[in-house]
């Protein structure tokens, strides 16, 4: 039977059996086609194959011209080890990528059809890259939207399990000897536990927690993993592991352990690299959350410590206090007040109201110091000037000249009247509202405390009749900027006028009124801390009993 021998080049010495099977039109096929015999010798090639393998000559051993993956595949096909149902063989020749489809003939020759897949490959790689960058973007946007550390760890672990592995364990930096662990499985629950673990049990974990680069996944033997590193209910034995550090802002934010079971594909180098990119994003978000919560905690602790006390009536004298913090929320203010009740009604209670120079942490620390020192010095409050000198000595430092101004008021009630000893240490003098509406400035002067080697101060004694009030206040009130033009100070005269209208009012109402007027004056503008304390001699002997409830019930019964 005469075969068609219409091949222009490389006319075979004999017609091959494979030729008969597939015909010889293959020689015109646009894809590279080559025929090799059972011994691995190159029998024939078409034009496209010659272009792909320049210099190849018929009869040459196949493995001299083609990559190992193809010559190995040929060997397997000739030995009948390759079933047609198997996945198509593929590999690269030079920088192009081909799928190789064999058509075996009865004589042992095999026709290899090489279908180029370079473009599809590139498209696939691009797809992967796009997918990964989408994941990274999602990681950043999801994690940065929460500043709650626990929530952030949960999300990071869950996302790692979702996109990178089957399960993930996030090991946060130790709290003492214990480590917070977050476990997550793909599609499963996320759980937290804080426990003592042996970091050295997982190769590379100790280094990762110190921020060193990760060890390659192939260095970690999955069988050696301790129980805590594998989430409960993980399907099957662990097949491959990645340990990667979570780099934070300067300090490590923890480490991430990624797990795949033995039935899944092991982590590739590309996946390891992606895991590091993922970890970099997650680490940045985690450490931002950690810094934020640390700062919030410090501010909260300080605020708690510095919050002014609620004032009530002590030994027959009414006290009321009001404090409006400056609007800059990140700064702890410098105003404070305290009432130290006397142990016995016949003794004096001590009221302190003050203002510390500066803002923020520095001011907060100084405020705390002053309040504590004054508390300890209470037994010496019978001599205000001496008390102030002791306080001054305790505050004095060569490092700075941060000072405080304050007013001391020793208060006791005798025979329905309130007796006051008032001393200003560089502070605005207290104002007294008499029952007839006159407002008196208490003529006490003294040196600020905390900056000079010694202080002097004069103490003024006065008496409040029932209904009269002594107001201690800080310059946040008189220096409140606002008004119709927006830049005028509330000022001494407006405060005095307001107080005139407060004659006979209870302590609480006086403070309320002053704070309200100053706030209205400021409007929406910025203001400093405003603090005020009113000391009022209560009006006596006025009892009003209104039995409205009884009459109401009666009315209902009558209906």
């Amino acid at each position: 039977m005469p075969p068609l021998v219409a091949v222009s080049r490389g006319i075979p010495a004999r017609p091959s059996d494979a030729d008969r099977t597939v015909g010889t039109t293959w020689s015109d096929a646009p894809c590279p086609v080559l025929v090799a015999d059972r011994d691995g010798g190159l029998v024939r090639m078409n034009g496209a194959a010659r272009t792909l393998l320049p210099g190849a000559v018929d009869g040459e051993p196949l493995d001299r011209r083609v990559p190992v993956w193809l010559s190995d595949a040929h060997l397997r096909v000739t030995q009948g080890l390759h079933a047609p149902a198997d996945a198509p063989l593929a590999g690269s020749i030079d920088d192009r990528f081909f799928a190789a489809h064999p058509t075996p003939g009865a004589d042992g020759d095999v026709v290899w059809w090489l279908v180029e897949e370079t473009d599809r490959r590139l498209a696939q790689a691009l797809d992967d890259a796009q997918g990964r960058s989408r994941i990274l973007t999602e990681v950043s946007s999801t994690l940065l939207s929460t500043l709650n550390v626990a929530r952030c760890m949960e999300t990071a672990t869950a996302m790692a399990a979702e996109h990178l592995a089957e399960a993930a364990v996030l090991v946060a930096p130790s709290q003492g000897r214990r480590y917070p662990l977050t476990h997550a499985q793909r599609g499963g629950r996320v759980s937290h536990v804080t426990q003592r673990i042996d970091v050295a049990a997982v190769p590379g974990l100790g280094e990762a927690l110190q921020g060193f680069p990760p060890v390659p996944a192939r260095w970690i033997n999955p069988d050696d993993l301790p129980d805590w590193a594998v989430p409960d209910g993980f399907a099957g034995p662990v097949g491959s592991v990645i340990v990667t550090p979570l780099p934070g802002h300067g300090v490590p934010a923890g480490a991430l352990i990624l797990l795949r079971s033995s039935t899944e594909q092991a982590f590739t180098e590309g996946e390891e690299l992606f895991a590091r990119l993922f970890a970099a994003r997650a680490g940045a978000a985690l450490s931002a959350a950690r810094l934020y919560s640390e700062q919030t905690r410090i501010t909260e602790t300080l605020m708690q410590e510095l919050l002014p006390p609620t004032l009530t009536s002590v030994h027959g004298v009414d006290f009321a206090g009001g404090y409006r913090a400056a609007k800059e929320q990140d700064r702890v203010g410098g105003d404070f007040y305290d009432v130290h009740p006397a142990a016995h009604p016949s003794q004096e209670s001590l009221v302190v109201l003050g203002d510390v120079a500066g803002k923020g942490l520095d001011a907060a620390v100084l405020t705390g110091k002053i309040r504590n020192t004054l508390h300890a010095l209470l037994p010496l409050a019978d001599d205000h000037e001496r008390l102030l000198n002791l306080l001054n000595g305790a505050l004095l430092t060569s490092r700075h000249t941060r000072f405080a101004t304050l007013v001391l008021a020793s208060v006791s009630r005798r025979g329905g009247k309130v007796h006051l000893r008032l001393t200003s240490a560089g502070h605005l003098p207290p104002l007294i509202v008499r029952n007839d509406g006159t407002v008196e400035e208490v003529d006490t002067r003294g040196t600020l405390v905390g900056a000079l080697p010694a202080v002097t101060a004069s103490t003024v004694r006065t008496v409040l009749a029932p209904g009269e009030t002594c107001l201690l206040f800080t310059d946040g009130i008189t220096e409140a900027r606002g008004g119709p033009l927006g830049d005028d100070l509330f000022g001494d005269h407006r405060l005095r006028r307001a107080l005139t209208q407060c004659a006979g009012m209870p302590a609480e109402a006086v403070v309320e009124r002053v704070q309200m007027l100053a706030s209205q004056w400021v409007g929406a503008g910025r203001h400093d801390d405003m603090a005020a304390v009113a000391i009022t001699a209560p009006k006596t002997g006025r009892l009003t009993v209104v039995n409205g409830r009884a009459s109401g019930q009666e009315g209902r019964r009558n209906r």
Partner: protein
């Protein structure tokens, strides 16, 4: 004279062989006090022979407690350097603040205080010099 309400904080430093003058314009507060302190201290750290340091407040618009704190620190430094501090052309609000806090006399104290500081330093030097 410039506008009293000008917010712009400006320091003008004038040097004579014996006198350092710093004109302070604008608001001396939490945000600007450090600048004044630094400007004065810089001049004092060089080996100087200033007898007087003059702060000129004619264009001062406002001062808060942090500003006063800076003045107290400047006084410490000028005393240590053996110079006398002068607070010139004090506006009324500054005068009131200095009076209320009772620091005016301290800030502008005459020679004896500085002499005392110098004496103290001399004592220290003498003691250190004795083997």
């Amino acid at each position: 004279m410039t506008d009293l309400h000008s917010d712009e904080f400006v320091l003008t430093v004038l040097r004579d062989p014996l006198t350092l003058t710093v004109r302070v314009s604008g608001e001396l507060d939490y945000d600007t006090s450090d600048d004044l302190l630094r400007a004065v201290v810089e001049q004092l750290t060089e080996p100087c022979a200033f007898r007087d340091v003059r702060l000129d407040f004619r264009d001062l618009g406002y001062i808060d407690s942090t500003g006063l704190s800076a003045l107290l620190m400047i006084h410490r430094r000028t005393s240590a350097a053996g110079a006398l501090l002068h607070l010139d052309h004090r506006p009324e609000f500054l005068e009131r603040m200095l009076t209320m806090t009772n620091v005016l006399d301290h800030l502008t104290a005459g020679g004896h205080r500085e002499e005392a500081v110098e004496a103290e330093q001399d004592d220290g030097a003498t003691e250190a010099g004795v083997p």
